[in-house]
């Protein structure tokens, strides 16, 4: 049960959505864009969210696109995680989406919602960070394309009134050899201790991680360290683990030290896989 009253809008076009947002915002309604809505329900029923209006993006055709277009994949922000795993256009993204929440929730949660919501893990973002994809963002009077790394770096860079319309991923990235490893406390379906996505591109690998810090990240410095050939694998891993971009999480899922232990172990295994 959501305790407060709020208005519901379901625009049919990108421009309509932006317009409604501007109008509601000026009326002081604290509007929220949303895709699946699962987080709105779970947050609001616990009094952790207070909004006067919601704008449902699922009625906008561009946000629902999931297709190949020339040398790109087009992934609409309101596409659900289960749509992504079923279409399987980007196998690493399928893997990452297939391990977020349970299947019932995967049929509700959208890729845009997973990335823009308040839950910190945003595991759908990891493959997108590795693909250096382009993000189509709508805002008041504009529709712009930015790099995924501009959209997200230790936090989401969306201005009030902006929303993600689509992710545009170069097809070649979807074809790279990949690894997906998710480690949890003790339960398959859970928040990650670590969620690791990696791809192998021209002999060196790229790595994106979630569950370690308060935000998912891709660290070029860690990648460089792990791709070195002049030191032992143990040393590479040890050095990489020292390059965390922020404080390591310490919570009910696992202590900070244990997370680092799991990361070290996982990176060692990954190294063996890559060399083997």
């Amino acid at each position: 049960m959501i305790p407060m009253k709020f208005d519901y809008y379901r625009p049919d076009t990108v421009s309509e959505a932006v317009k409604i947002y501007g109008q509601l915002d000026s009326e002081g309604k604290r509007p929220l864009y949303y895709g699946g809505g699962s987080e709105i329900i779970s947050m609001a029923r616990m009094n952790n969210l207070d909004m006067g209006a919601v704008i449902d993006l699922k009625g906008i055709p561009e946000c629902r696109e999931l297709k190949t277009d020339g040398d790109h994949l087009v992934i609409g922000s309101s596409v659900t995680l289960s749509d992504i795993t079923e279409a399987d256009l980007f196998p690493l993204l399928s893997k990452a989406c297939g391990r977020i929440a349970d299947h019932t929730m995967q049929c509700k949660i959208t890729v845009g919602g997973n990335i823009c919501g308040t839950i910190i893990y945003k595991e759908a973002l990891l493959p997108l960070l590795l693909s250096d994809c382009t993000v189509l963002i709508a805002g008041a009077g504009h529709l712009k394309k930015v790099s995924v790394h501009r959209l997200f770096h230790q936090g989401l860079n969306l201005s009030p009134g902006e929303f993600i319309v689509q992710f545009l991923v170069e097809k070649k990235y979807a074809a790279l050899p990949y690894f997906h490893i998710k480690k949890t406390k003790n339960e398959k379906i859970d928040y990650p201790l670590i969620s690791l996505c990696a791809v192998l591109e021209e002999g060196s690998f790229k790595l994106a991680l979630s569950g370690l810090c308060g935000f998912p990240f891709r660290s070029v410095r860690m990648e460089t360290e792990l791709n070195r050939r002049d030191v032992s694998p143990e040393e590479r891993v040890r050095n990489a683990v020292n390059l965390m971009p922020g404080p390591v999480l310490n919570d009910v899922s696992g202590s900070d030290r244990y997370r680092l232990f799991v990361l070290k172990n996982t990176l060692m295994n990954l190294g063996k896989e890559l060399e083997g």
Binding site: I189, D190, D251, Y258
Partner: protein, 775 residues
């Protein structure tokens, strides 16, 4: 016509599998108001002020209650708990105010607008902290509280609500005879029942004073009595109805929402009010499973015979006692596990903390102490250099031995534990080795545990059954037992069918309980239903048979002793072709000319617990339950020595059921217990922040075992009859859970080669125990 020992489909099966079964909060009745609680955000704090002005202005609000509006104290053992906190809050999640409104949304909105000012107080964060001399007091007025029973001994100006002492044999002699001793400490966290149906209640007060409560409860008769007592209501004017209950596991025994629903209805002139917990409220505001800290010292001769046991159990009852003192008592009564130990010293102490409070939970304390004893036994086996299963078999309790409370054990009262261990060993292939290296850092390991359990009912607990006939000769069975999942009412039908020698499908059971029309059944708890409620239909059947025979004797013009009853007929023993059918007798017999004799035949049967005593306060001597169920369990895991993760492979239970009444239901009950035990062993635990607030109040972060993570389950039964039980059947409903966390921790301790003395056992806790937290 055999009914006992066969697979009988449960009476409510079709309603359940088609989704048509109705639970307390399933029917939304027009005109019903909605109540919502506001809960405490602090574990321990003084309530400085409660401002309801803004909340009262929310449209649709009909009433707002706070602690001041219901200045009573509740409790089954010690009356220490106000329905709404008054003066101070003692745990995170404690109900502070109650809003009644036209809609649930409005009630929630108003609850959010109640402004409560708190002054945080120092928190009692564990039972071992609670018993320190300078610990803050959870209840300053403990000595002034009313005791609801005689045999409870709160210690004034401390956090100790009760202490049960076991003094058996001669400890000095025991230690002297011991060549080897082991000592270990254990910690088990609090957790929750996680019944699928969250608790719910509905109350209405009619203009004539009739109070009608509908509640998701394992104890509707307690609801009736406690409401009557707490609110000075004439007991006959309180009616409690309980439809099917969607899982209880002990959590639906205490009377909580029923009292709030009554207060809410009273505040709105008796209009119907419903209140239903969210999952979060059900986990933290409502009581959960006890926590435990324990110290165990065992002594044995070098050839492996146990000689002495010294044990201290600190039961974390949380902020209120509820049934906590009885949990401590249950632990004391069976504190050694099912083993022969002549010299026992045990203190089981029920301790207040600022945690959510504890109530009964499947196993009633036995799962917790069993973990400690069985882990200590494995450590003793290692110290002796003996096989853990062999050590247990050598010391398994047998007829002639005495229990910690000095009750002499008979074959009927306990069954055959040695046979259970033998069968378990064969079932899981114990001989192939407890730890097998599979290569690549993976090992497969097994752990075992024994268990026993008796009940701790009041010494005068009762149960009854009423039987009526339909005109076609079939029987209606009416009992106060709540159907909360184990198929108890089907069992009662089975017992009756067997006794009446008729088809069980011709026995119609009233599944819902209505305290106005159902004969009382104490509470549907303690694995006692088969025994207590099961003896009632046996007596009721005798009553029916006698009446059927006496009217048939008139009709057939013969003495009653020549008559026999079977298959809904009463016939002459010497000539079975001379008979009358039930349908022609049970609503009166009509002669061919039309004259009628007899009348409606109705059967009644009841049972009261007998030969039970309270425990002697100094020595613990006494008898708390009619018999024990015993068994042996094992868990097998596959463990990764590199990252400390593990997978559950197999779990096994062999128990002495006395008589297996319904094989598939019995297997299901044991398997369900094992599954819960694996949850407790591997993941279920409340986690607190530094201020005593529970951090995992939802199923996102509080995990239970899920489908896909279950091991293969092996279940087998021994059948040593309990001679005073219906068809020899022992209570088995709870028991599948008892030894499983211990067996899991034993398996993982063997696998990881380290002592795992805390629950739950997670990869992180093994990593910690093994490496001290090294990277």
């Amino acid at each position: 016509m055999n009914s006992v020992g066969t697979n009988i489909q449960r009476q409510e099966a079709w309603d359940k599998v088609t989704g048509r079964a109705k639970y307390t909060d399933d029917d939304q009745i027009t005109g019903t108001l909605h109540a919502k609680i506001l809960t405490s955000p602090h574990a321990h704090a003084e309530i400085r002020s409660v401002d309801i002005r803004a909340a009262s202005k929310v449209p649709g609000v009909k009433a707002i209650l706070t602690g001041k509006d219901c200045a009573i104290l509740c409790g089954d053992v010690i009356e220490d708990r106000p329905p709404l906190a008054a003066g101070k809050v003692r745990y995170f999640g404690e109900p502070v105010a109650l809003v009644v409104a036209v809609s649930e949304r409005e009630a929630m909105e108003a609850a959010n607008r109640i402004a409560v000012k708190y002054k945080p107080l120092p928190v009692v964060a564990s039972p071992s902290e609670a018993i320190l001399g300078d610990a803050p007091l959870v209840h300053e007025n403990l000595k002034k509280y009313k005791k609801a029973v005689q045999d409870v001994y709160p210690e004034p100006d401390t956090n100790i609500a009760d202490r049960i002492k076991i003094r058996k044999g001669d400890m000095a002699k025991g230690w002297q005879e011991s060549d080897v001793t082991v000592e270990a400490s254990f910690q088990l966290p609090k957790s929750d029942h996680i019944a699928m149906e969250t608790r719910a209640a509905r109350a209405e007060i009619h203009p004539d004073g009739q109070v009608i409560i509908t509640a998701s409860s394992q104890a509707p008769f307690s609801v009736k009595k406690l409401l009557s007592k707490s609110f000075q209501l004439e007991e006959g004017k309180v009616t409690v109805k309980t439809p099917l209950v969607g899982g209880g596991f002990g959590g639906k025994v205490p009377v909580i929402l029923e009292a709030l629903a009554y207060l809410a209805s009273k505040a709105v002139d008796g209009q119907a009010v419903r209140i239903a917990n969210t999952r979060e409220e059900d986990m933290v505001s409502a009581p959960g499973r006890l926590g435990l800290e324990a110290k165990i010292k065992l002594g044995a001769t070098k050839d492996g015979y146990l000689k002495a046991a010294e044990m201290t159990y600190l039961v974390d009852t949380g902020a209120y006692t509820d049934i906590g003192p009885r949990l401590a008592k249950a632990i004391a009564v069976d504190c050694t596990g099912p083993y022969r130990i002549e010299n026992v010293w045990c203190d089981a102490v029920c301790v207040y903390t600022n945690h959510p409070y504890a109530t009964s939970f499947r196993g009633f304390g036995h799962t917790s102490y069993t973990f400690c004893v069985e882990r200590a036994l494995d450590q003793l086996a290692a110290a002796l250099g003996t096989d853990p299963l062999e050590l247990r078999m050598k010391n398994a309790i047998i007829p002639g031995d005495t229990t910690p409370t000095q009750v002499k054990v008979t074959s009927s009262s306990t069954g055959n534990l040695t046979a259970c261990f033998e069968r378990l060993g064969a079932l899981i292939g114990w001989k192939e080795g407890a730890r097998i290296d599979l290569g690549n850092g993976i090992v497969r390991a097994k752990g075992v545990s024994g268990f026993w359990k008796t009940s701790n009912s009041p010494t005068d607990a009762i149960s009854g059954v009423l039987l009526t006939f339909n005109s076609d000769g079939s029987i209606n069975l009416n009992s106060g037992v709540v159907e909360c999942g184990p198929g108890m009412k089907t069992t009662l039908a089975q017992i009756l069918a067997e006794k009446m020698k008729m088809d069980v499908s011709r026995i119609h059971v009233k599944l819902e309980v209505d305290t106005q029309v159902c004969p009382e059944h104490w509470k549907t708890v303690a694995s006692l239903t088969t025994f207590m409620a099961g003896r009632a239909p046996l007596k009721a059947a005798e009553d029916l048979i006698e009446q059927v025979k006496s009217i048939a004797a008139v009709a057939l013009k013969c003495p009653t002793e020549d008559l026999e009853v079977a298959e809904e007929k009463v016939f002459l023993k010497q000539d079975p072709t001379t008979y009358l059918e039930f349908k022609d007798l049970v609503h009166g017999y009509q002669y061919p000319g039309g004259e009628s004799v007899g009348g409606q035949i109705m059967g009644r049967g009841s049972h009261i617990m007998s030969q039970l005593t309270t425990l002697d306060h100094e020595t613990g001597r006494g008898k708390s339950g009619p018999a024990w169920a015993v068994g042996a369990q094992a868990v097998e895991v596959e463990f990764d020595t590199k990252d400390f993760s593990y997978r559950l492979v197999r779990a096994a239970t062999v128990m002495d059921a006395g008589k297996v009444l319904n094989p598939k239901t019995s297997r299901g009950l044991i398997t369900g217990g094992m599954s819960m035990g694996l949850g407790l062993g591997s993941r279920e635990a409340f986690v607190y922040d530094g201020s005593g607030r529970v951090e995992n109040t939802s199923l996102r972060t509080y995990k239970v075992l899920h489908i896909g993570e279950e091991p293969q389950y092996l279940v087998d039964f021994m059948e040593t009859p309990q001679v005073d039980a219906p068809y020899g059947a022992r209570g088995i409903a709870e028991d599948g859970i008892i030894g499983i966390p211990a067996a899991l921790a034993n398996a993982l301790s063997t696998a990881a080669r380290t002592e795992l003395n805390q629950l739950p056992v997670t990869p992180e806790s093994i990593w910690n125990a093994k490496t001290g937290g090294k990277l």
